[in-house]
């Protein structure tokens, strides 16, 4: 019979960096991210005996991280925004708007620095932020995201689509500001 400490070290600790990367983008601040990861790990340890399929350990952990975040940091904020978000999704502009984005004039993010990327992600409304973080930082598949977020596949895809477009717009602003600053120097 495997010792819970050993299980924790084998299955949870390898994901510590990944949990922190996601947490810092969900919570926004390093101190909050540390608290969030710490609390999530303690919850994971308490439930480690219920982790049966170790292959799905990563999704299990991020589900705990998300639940912990919502309980302690963002549940009210999330609930208040759910109605608004669903409305937004139902009135989502045609997905072909991606073709009207000014890609030609994209400065290709050459002037965006890392901290601005993180800030831009942290500034997204939570449902879009978590979708972008799970897909682009943690690299979950859509199917895994369906399990973690407990929403239908279509909702995962539309939140991801919307989140990435919002992020692109925000980074474009950063990029053009950086570009302007550099020209001014």
């Amino acid at each position: 019979m495997e010792d819970p400490h050993k299980r924790f070290e084998t299955y949870v600790l390898p994901y510590l960096d990944l949990l922190y990367r996601a947490a810092i983008r969900l919570a926004g601040q390093e101190a909050d991210a540390e608290d969030l990861v710490q609390e999530s790990c303690l919850r994971a340890f308490a439930a480690i005996d219920r982790l049966r399929d170790v292959e799905s350990c990563k999704a299990w952990l991020f589900k705990i991280l998300r639940t912990t975040y919502l309980r302690q940091w963002g549940e009210d904020q999330y609930r208040q925004r759910v109605v608004g978000v669903e409305n937004l999704e139902s009135t989502l502009a045609d997905m072909t708007q991606v073709l009207q984005d000014p890609y030609e004039s994209d400065p290709l993010y050459a002037h965006v620095v890392g901290v601005e990327v993180r800030q831009a992600i942290s500034a997204l409304p939570f449902p879009y932020r978590e979708a972008v973080v799970l897909a682009d930082v943690v690299r979950f598949t859509y199917r895994e995201m369906v399990q973690i977020l407990e929403v239908p596949l279509g909702t995962v895809m539309s939140r991801l689509y919307r989140g990435r477009r919002m992020l692109r717009a925000a980074l474009r602003d950063y990029a053009s500001q950086g570009h302007v600053k550099q020209r001014a120097v």
Binding site: D53, V98, V117, R118, V137
Partner: protein, 273 residues
């Protein structure tokens, strides 16, 4: 496929979520449409930017120490109870562990069913790899790292994958490493490496051994190495097992060329430090 249709597929295309057939349709459109190609290129740049930024953040050492310390403190009372009273909580814990062990026997049964839309009589994994070869192998823009330096590529992959990748030692003129990206096979993590050999592009996938019953091909033993082969729509696929990992090579060349390449991996392959 027209531009308007492609727009709906872009995210799923770049997230490796399309079926082989859908991938081929997108790829066919991109060959002729420079506008959509620019959109895809810019979207790849966005994802690379997010990923590169994320890799800079690692959990601080003191956080790990703090977590381990707290876990040690929390579990101490439970251990003393286990020695004394064998409480219901401990009984639950033991039951959970037993059930966990039993459940491990079911591992690996779900992933194969996630594969979509492969043609009949062809392993879905081969179809998936051929589809991805067509996407990643055609345009260097789809690689996340462009480099012919195998040490650099191995180190880059090591930071992103849960397992080490053994790279083939190339010696002949006309063969070189082009670059790499992190990909997936059957919803599991996979390394994707692109090579050029005698003017042909070879995709090499490395992933953990998994759903073998969906990966059956024609066995062929060469120089003491057991290879499996298959063909699909003009593409050849050769794969072999190396310890706990599968290696699979895809190209539009012949099976024998790929087997020769495979032998380079098996015999001359080395783990870069």
């Amino acid at each position: 496929m027209i531009c308007k249709e492609l727009a709906k597929y872009i995210d799923a295309y770049l997230d490796d979520e399309l079926s082989v057939i859908e991938n081929l349709r997108v790829q066919a459109h991109l060959v002729f449409c420079s506008g959509c190609k620019a959109v895809v290129k810019s979207e790849v740049a966005l994802r690379s930017l997010i990923e590169a930024d994320a890799l800079e953040d690692n959990a601080p050492d003191h956080l790990k120490e703090k977590i381990l310390q707290q876990i040690g403190e929390r579990s101490r009372p439970e251990r003393s109870q286990a020695l004394g009273l064998f409480t219901s909580r401990v009984r639950l814990f033991l039951t959970g562990l037993l059930a966990g062990v039993a459940a491990m026997g079911l591992m690996g049964f779900l992933a194969p069913y996630l594969i979509k839309g492969s043609p009949a009589n062809v392993s879905p994994l081969v179809a998936e790899m051929v589809g991805k070869h067509q996407i990643y192998g055609q345009d260097r823009g789809n690689l996340q790292l462009e480099s012919s330096n195998s040490a650099e590529v191995a180190s880059w992959l090591r930071q992103r994958l849960d397992f080490p990748v053994k790279l083939p030692r190339l010696a002949r003129p006309g063969e070189k490493l082009v670059g790499a990206r992190v990909s997936s096979i059957a919803d599991g993590q996979a390394a994707f490496l692109l090579y050029e050999r005698d003017g042909r592009r070879i995709s090499l996938y490395v992933f953990k051994a998994g759903p073998t019953h969906l990966f059956l091909g024609t066995p062929k033993s060469v120089a003491g190495v057991q290879f499996f082969t298959s063909t699909l729509e003009g593409y050849s696929a050769v794969w072999w097992e190396d310890q706990y990992w599968y290696y699979a090579a895809i190209s539009d060349g012949g099976i024998n060329d790929l087997i020769e390449f495979g032998l380079l991996c098996v015999r001359g392959g080395h783990f870069e430090k």
